[in-house]
């Protein structure tokens, strides 16, 4: 086996030194009835070229070179090649969690920069080193709000990503954390009256997403006021991180939880992506996940360490703020590289391009179909109501190498033939025009 650095004579010598006659002797203490006496039924050992062929065949069963107008939590943005150049370096790729700070300063400083930029972008004071993704981030944030407030209930907007809400439901089901959903108005934003009514003195947090699942930007300030008035925390989930390039950050929130896939991370059929949670300094000891802090070594030189780990499972065990251990380190590094490449001006410029593409698309689609939630500000997604099943539109577009919007019926039966479309900088005017035409009839 080409990965194994041993010859038979190496093995022989080592077994001799161990003092056993053969390898089987090393397994002889395992009850014989459990020892496997046959080969595993997995494909035979393959050459590297065969492995490449296998995956090339799988890859060719997918779409390549298409204009994909799907968003809904996973966004197509151009990924600068420097990202892969950095994360492919063995020193990052094959390093472990930086528990041993003295020889993982590279990873630690990168995370410190990540935390800093997440704070700059979200308007929060502290950020963790990452969570699994945006969906589990929502669950972790709600659990954190419960710890912070001592209250148990979560009021969540239906305009939050449906799968994020499902994950919250899964996490909360056995923790005595009732979840209440609040509907959206005809503007595709949280129904503020209903929200106000839903909050009780047991409400730990109000949880919204902005831009929300429909691409609409919520009135965060108004919602914050409603939540805070009743002593609940406001949690804002952000699924499209790029929106922060041009949309005001949710500074009124108490916790921001974000999916940062837009920052240079490949869609990769839904993962690995990277969640992150940011909040106020005063809540730092209730945060889930790893934190990197700055310190000095014995000589007074600046250095970085994992810190406040008494929050974590390896110290606190069942009393930890979360059970998370392995997080999304390398993906957070991708996002870090992306944020540094794009920087202060690039994120803004790109966000404006997304606005422009989407604005153009809304105008074009609007000629042939009903665009829902008019009047509300949106970032790079919008919902249309078509005469026919959106799947039919998609079929028509496939011939032009375009993948159309996401049918919403499954998540929002009341929206009928609605579908959710996304226009990032990766979709061309021609593709938008073609799609807008297909929507007609």
């Amino acid at each position: 086996m080409r990965y194994l650095p041993k010859s038979d004579s190496d093995r022989h010598q080592m077994l001799q030194e161990i003092g056993v006659p053969d390898t089987d002797a090393l397994f002889s203490h395992i009850p014989a009835e459990y020892r496997l006496k046959r080969d595993l039924k997995v494909p035979r050992q393959m050459g590297e070229s065969e492995i490449v062929d296998y995956f090339r065949a799988r890859s060719s069963e997918m779409v390549a070179g298409y204009g994909i107008m799907l968003g809904a939590g996973v966004y197509y943005h151009y990924r600068p090649v420097v990202i892969d150049a950095v994360v492919s370096r063995g020193e990052f790729l094959t390093s472990y969690t930086p528990y041993q700070a003295e020889i993982t300063q590279g990873t630690l400083q990168a995370i410190f920069e990540f935390q800093t930029m997440i704070c700059e972008l979200t308007g929060m004071e502290v950020s963790n080193a990452s969570l699994y993704d945006g969906s589990t981030g929502v669950a972790e944030a709600a659990m954190m709000a419960v710890r912070v407030t001592g209250r148990s209930e979560t009021v969540i907007a239906r305009s939050v990503h449906p799968e994020y809400r499902e994950v919250l439901r899964t996490y909360s089901q056995h923790q005595g954390m009732p979840i209440h959903e609040v509907d959206f108005s005809e503007h595709g934003r949280v129904d503020l009256k209903a929200l106000d009514a839903a909050i009780t003195d047991q409400t730990a947090c109000v949880l919204i997403q902005s831009p929300n699942f429909f691409g609409t930007i919520e009135d965060v300030a108004a919602i914050a006021e409603i939540a805070h008035k009743k002593g609940a925390l406001l949690i804002v989930s952000i699924a499209e991180a790029l929106s922060l390039g041009i949309v005001k950050p949710p500074v009124e929130a108490d916790i921001v939880t974000m999916e940062a896939q837009s920052f240079g991370v490949a869609p990769s059929f839904g993962g690995p992506h990277v969640g992150v949670l940011a909040t106020r300094e005063r809540f730092v000891r209730q945060m889930p996940g790893r934190l990197v802090g700055q310190t000095v070594d014995k000589q007074g030189k600046r250095g970085f360490v994992l810190t406040l780990s008494t929050r974590e499972q390896h110290i606190r065990r069942e009393k930890a703020t979360s059970n998370i251990c392995t997080n999304q380190g390398l993906v957070a590094l991708m996002a870090t590289v992306y944020m540094e490449l794009m920087g202060r001006e690039g994120l803004k410029e790109l966000a404006i391009q997304n606005l422009a593409k989407t604005n153009y698309a809304v105008e074009q689609f609007g000629k042939n179909a009903k665009v829902l939630f008019p009047g509300s500000p949106r970032f790079n997604e919008f919902v249309i109501q078509s005469g026919v099943d959106p799947l039919e539109i998609s079929c028509k577009l496939a011939g032009q190498k375009i993948v159309g919007g996401l049918p919403l019926k499954k998540f929002y039966p009341e929206l009928g033939n609605a579908s959710l479309w996304c226009c990032t900088e990766m979709v061309s005017k021609e593709q938008i025009d073609a799609a807008a035409k297909a929507v007609a009839q």
């Binding site: 990965y3 080592m14 459990y34 050992q45 799907l70 990873t107 410190f112 404006i352």
Partner: protein
């Protein structure tokens, strides 16, 4: 002081500040393609939701970013540089073909909401990996959705809960041995269980008589790591499983240590009902400085109704599809289908090995651990004498009289050119003095010999010049860092001076 160090020499290493310290207005690390649609006025479109500026986000050139991270990278230790003997972490070779295939366009660029007809390639990868993992574990079904080991634990324990709920049984507790990893109890808590500690016996294994007396109708499951975190196979595993099953309980296995078993022993064959795997350990997906991981959960038939949605299935016409209509499901644990990119890598690893390679891998991993054990016995105290599998756990008992603790020895290993072993657990090693070493199959004999030599030298130093160890590391870029101050006055982000 350092004359016995054979594995490394000193060399220069570039300094590099924080990226913010390089920022200067007007520098650019990007350039966009020109817009092909009319320009817009954001303020007009967004109203008061428009953002003014991006604060102190950096402004640097592309080359500075590349050089910044290249320099930073050189401050890291990595498997690619040398042995990474972290016990319980299985720091094995991360094959480069895995990285190549995960970046193929159709795969990396796949949107999770692609119509199924356009996503047969990715669904096939999931199915093929699932089939292989089911065969390897000897279980009946699997979900790939969990993002890491702890997430898998949660998924598994929730399925346990759902199982009892479906039988209208209300069991309140999970049994967890004192040797367990911290995520086990933390997970039980999230799932609404109380944790009951299960004692280990003097051999470092589950105390079967204690289990017999503790096991009751109130206990939903035992969360067992096997081989356990001492690297010891639970020889009474059949009794343990029987005991659990007799009282209607389930056996959960933390599969973090599957690298000791693949191709040799299948948990499904020794009575496990539910278990998670760590693709980022056993199946070679890279650790990436902390993640991402992937923690599939394999189960026996009885738990199948409770799998998270969606579940892959084959349609009549042979194409693959996703089933969302599973009323007894515990629900989703993550958006989409899991850390798919890790599935690609794990499957590539399995294909590269085949049945013979997987078995040989396990044998080599166990042999390497036993070789280290043999060579370090005498120099370090071995608190548990039972046979070792893929890792061996010593204690600092012989060194602590000189004030030298496991954490100090770990730091001194850095000077000798190695990453430290695991120090944080298992907690049952007296005085928390664990020296937990997992070499994996990826280390050649020469590297093991250098490690053994380093450990022996340090043992000698502990007797002759303990202060050398207590002040280690001496040869790294930074000396020992002040974690106490970091904790007391946390500085968690850079701020503009």
């Amino acid at each position: 002081m350092n004359e016995h160090i054979k594995k490394v020499r000193q060399n220069t290493s570039q300094n590099e500040g924080l990226i913010f310290e390089r920022s200067s207005p007007g520098k650019r690390g990007y350039r966009l393609a020109p817009l092909d649609v009319p320009e817009v006025d954001p303020a007009q479109l967004l109203g008061n939701a428009v953002r003014e500026d991006l604060g102190n986000m950096p402004e640097v050139s592309e080359f500075e970013v590349l050089r910044h991270f290249t320099r930073l990278s050189t401050w890291n230790y990595a498997i690619d540089l040398g042995m990474y003997p972290l016990g319980s972490c299985t720091m094995k070779y991360n094959p480069r073909v895995n990285e190549a295939v995960a970046r193929m366009e159709g795969i990396a660029n796949a949107h999770p909401y692609l119509p199924e007809a356009l996503a047969q390639g990715t669904l096939r990868i999931m199915r093929d990996l699932s089939d292989a993992l089911i065969e390897i574990t000897g279980m009946d079904a699997i979900t790939l959705q969990p993002a890491a080991g702890a997430h898998g634990e949660m998924t598994g324990i929730m399925m346990v809960r759902a199982y009892f709920d479906s039988k209208k049984e209300r069991r309140k507790k999970i049994l967890i041995p004192d040797s367990a990893h911290g995520t086990n109890p933390a997970t039980a808590a999230i799932c609404g269980f109380e944790v009951e500690n299960l004692r280990s016996n003097h051999r470092g294994m589950v105390d079967v008589s204690a289990l017999a007396s503790q096991m009751s109708g109130d206990i939903a499951a035992l969360m067992l790591t096997n081989p356990n975190t001492l690297g010891i196979f639970e020889e009474d595993i059949h009794k343990i499983a029987d005991l659990m099953h007799e009282k209607g309980g389930l056996l959960y296995m933390d599969g973090a240590n599957m690298n000791a078993l693949v191709g040799k022993v299948r948990p499904g064959d020794f009575g496990v009902d539910v278990m998670h795997l760590n693709l980022h350990k056993t199946f070679s997906t890279p650790h990436g400085g902390g993640g991402p991981g992937s923690g599939p959960v394999a189960i026996k038939k009885v738990l199948e109704p409770f799998l998270p949605t969606p579940v892959i299935y084959s349609k009549q016409d042979g194409t693959l599809a996703l089933d969302y209509d599973r009323p007894q499901s515990i629900g989703r644990v993550k958006a989409f289908y899991g850390n798919f990119g890790m599935f690609v890598r794990a499957l590539a690893y399995i294909l590269a090995n085949g049945p013979d390679g997987l078995r040989q891998t396990t044998e080599d991993a166990v042999m390497n651990a036993n070789y280290i054990r043999k060579k370090l016995e005498g120099s370090y105290d071995l608190p548990y004498q039972a046979p070792s599998m893929h890792e061996v756990v010593f204690s600092h008992r012989l060194q602590s009289p000189k004030g030298v603790k496991t954490g100090d020895i770990a730091k001194r290993l850095i000077d000798y050119g190695f990453h430290p072993y695991t120090t944080a657990f298992p907690l049952i090693v007296a005085d928390h003095g664990a020296i937990m070493i997992e070499p994996t199959e990826s280390e050649p004999k020469e590297e093991l010999d250098l490690f053994i030599d380093a450990m022996r030298n340090i043992a000698k130093e502990a007797q002759e010049s303990p202060e050398t160890i207590l002040n280690a590391p001496h040869l790294a870029r930074v000396e020992r860092l002040d974690e106490v101050t970091a904790n007391r006055k946390p500085v968690l982000r850079w701020k503009k001076p």
